[in-house]
Symmetry: C2
Subunit: 437 residues, 2 copies
Amino acid sequence: MKRSWPLFVVLNLALVPLTLSERLQESPRIRAERLRARLEALGEIGRTPEGGVSRPAFSDSDIRGRNYVIGLMKESGLEVRTDPAGNIIGRRAGKDKDAPPIAIGSHLDTVPNGGKYDGALGVIAALECVQALEEGGFETRHPLEVVIFVDEEGGLIGSRGMIGELDGKTLDHVSQSGKTVREGITALGGNPDHPEGARRAKRDIAAYLELHIEQGGILDSRKIPIGIVEGIVGIARWDVTIEGSANHAGTTPMDQRRDALLAAARLILEANRIVTEEPGSQVGTVGRIQAEPGAVNVIPGKVDMSLELRDISMDKVRSLFSRIRAEGQRVERETNTGISFTAIEETPPTSTDARLRDLIRESAADLGLSSLDLPSGAGHDGQSVARIAPIAMIFIPSVGGISHSPKEFSRPEDIADGTRVLLRTLLKVDGANLDNP
Amino acid sequence: MKRSWPLFVVLNLALVPLTLSERLQESPRIRAERLRARLEALGEIGRTPEGGVSRPAFSDSDIRGRNYVIGLMKESGLEVRTDPAGNIIGRRAGKDKDAPPIAIGSHLDTVPNGGKYDGALGVIAALECVQALEEGGFETRHPLEVVIFVDEEGGLIGSRGMIGELDGKTLDHVSQSGKTVREGITALGGNPDHPEGARRAKRDIAAYLELHIEQGGILDSRKIPIGIVEGIVGIARWDVTIEGSANHAGTTPMDQRRDALLAAARLILEANRIVTEEPGSQVGTVGRIQAEPGAVNVIPGKVDMSLELRDISMDKVRSLFSRIRAEGQRVERETNTGISFTAIEETPPTSTDARLRDLIRESAADLGLSSLDLPSGAGHDGQSVARIAPIAMIFIPSVGGISHSPKEFSRPEDIADGTRVLLRTLLKVDGANLDNP
């Protein structure tokens, strides 16, 4: 649709009044156009034909993305190093040489054919904050560290390195790039054989703040620009195996079948019913399924599938699972199959810091932006950092709640507002007495 | 468990009375031990670690199996040739030089890790009949042909060649062996570029008889040794595609999902309900399923699966499908997904010849064996041959109804009885006036 601007607007562009949030903003100035341009430039690195981004950790595109960001860090006067876990750390000195640094950042790696905002937003916004401070001649009391965690999508690898939890099994795991994590970290200039060098102790970091897209659709559907993350949900995952009997699809009467896929279909529906029928924000998903032998003319004799449950309360996750397992036993009996659940992963929930949440809330209010407390359904590096420092996260809306997809999109105005809240919160943290909790 | 035999049985082994079926048998004598030994020997060719047989058409093991059988044919005095479609034809002359041959046979190829009986039984039994005639000095009026159809499991390739229906598309299809059908037939000594040389016209064959394992569990569970195949069911197959929306399994609230796998699970259960809730022997199967992207932490955005329906009446298949499709539309609406069905294959049902069925029934009765008329839920080469000649099939029990599996098993006594019925029927056909229907 063509839009015609009233003449006085065109003539008065230079004099156009500041928005409410701009008027309330303190002097270090976030530049929305620079944010947008840098996110676009980063989105070109690993761009896919579908318009998404493939920048799995340790891939060539990941390395190019890192080099681009290291360049920006140096432009902003940061002192840049790669820690032994492969994390990039750009440091800006503070007035108080004994104060621990405030860390801000996110990650650069993406899922295959993912989006331009997940991770990248938090990195570019952190750089914008530092650059705004630099341009405004602002000095903080604490040193600042822009941290770019390595391989977030592969399982919070960099942040686990930072808290000393990178074990041999994880290092030997073959990452999405085809390299093992160990090979990948080495290629980035880390030193995976001495990961203890990356380790930060409790109180080594004053606070960790991260700006991220919501990935869900709550802020977008409710038109709220700022989300304050209450905590990161706990995740439990199972491999589910259903054993039936493979047989000829033409010659086996319906009442003599032990069809593993039919049993799986029932279990999928029952799990969904159990997760959805009680109030709350818990989620449950079967994302992966394989039927064997998998031929059009053979009754499936075996199904392997995944089950994942998430909630901010692990008790709720456990209670949902026990109901699903009980239902599984009924399906087992009624379909003459065998159903087994093997727990493969359990990540406990993480709480964000209440004082930091208050500072985010105040900052949003200062800028005239409404905010909403909400859980993060996705995992983030903050989960690791929370073990050694207070953490908080700021979410901005994802249009349509879409993420991990070429269609992932956040509006430039939301990006700028989120970055302003990040900067303002950072300055409040710098002024607050968070060092001695 | 050790079993102790009463002394008189041990002493009288050589004098043990003939069974009813042995007493009723005519002079050409089926040798049960030879049948068993040859089936075992054939089962060693392509034997898998699980005790099954992998002898896909055109593979090295298929070629070795064919060479073994060609050797047996020559031992029995048959004149052996490979037709341009790759079928092996072993001919024994008859008294009447103008009479068309009676054909008996089956196939040697198997599904991957299949059983020792599917196909092989009919081949070894046909050879046993000819050998018994030879040993008994029996001459038939009609010439006899033992036919070993090529690549039955890959889609009745050899028998389609025999009726002139082997088209370029089929010849270019990559078979289970990795070779195209064209390359495979060439490797077997056929001439796929001139398949018309394999073509037999109407009345070129007096009748076609095949002995086969039931593959289902009807004869076994009812303890009936002989099945008389009423017809071969019609088969219709569809590719079913369900389009939802892939999204983050942690951040997407349950009520904002468009989960393609959840919709697929509902459709699988509805299809099963529709197929089972009305009386009859129709079957319906979803054997293949794939969810994309197929990750534990991503809501499936797309599911591809198969749907197969079989019945002796194509009208019933069509009516079942229209009910499943209607149910699919309801699922589509209720899950906010898109479901489409693409017909990929339709094989009409085949009737066996009523006169031949009567001769099988008489033969079984002569031998004191009970018999049951039943449909074949599986496809067989007889479907093709029925286009040019009267056909019939004799089934023997599959223990537990298992086939296409290393566990496929038929008892030696059932194999011998089935072969006796085949031979007796063959001789009745030779005496009957089937040439001028």
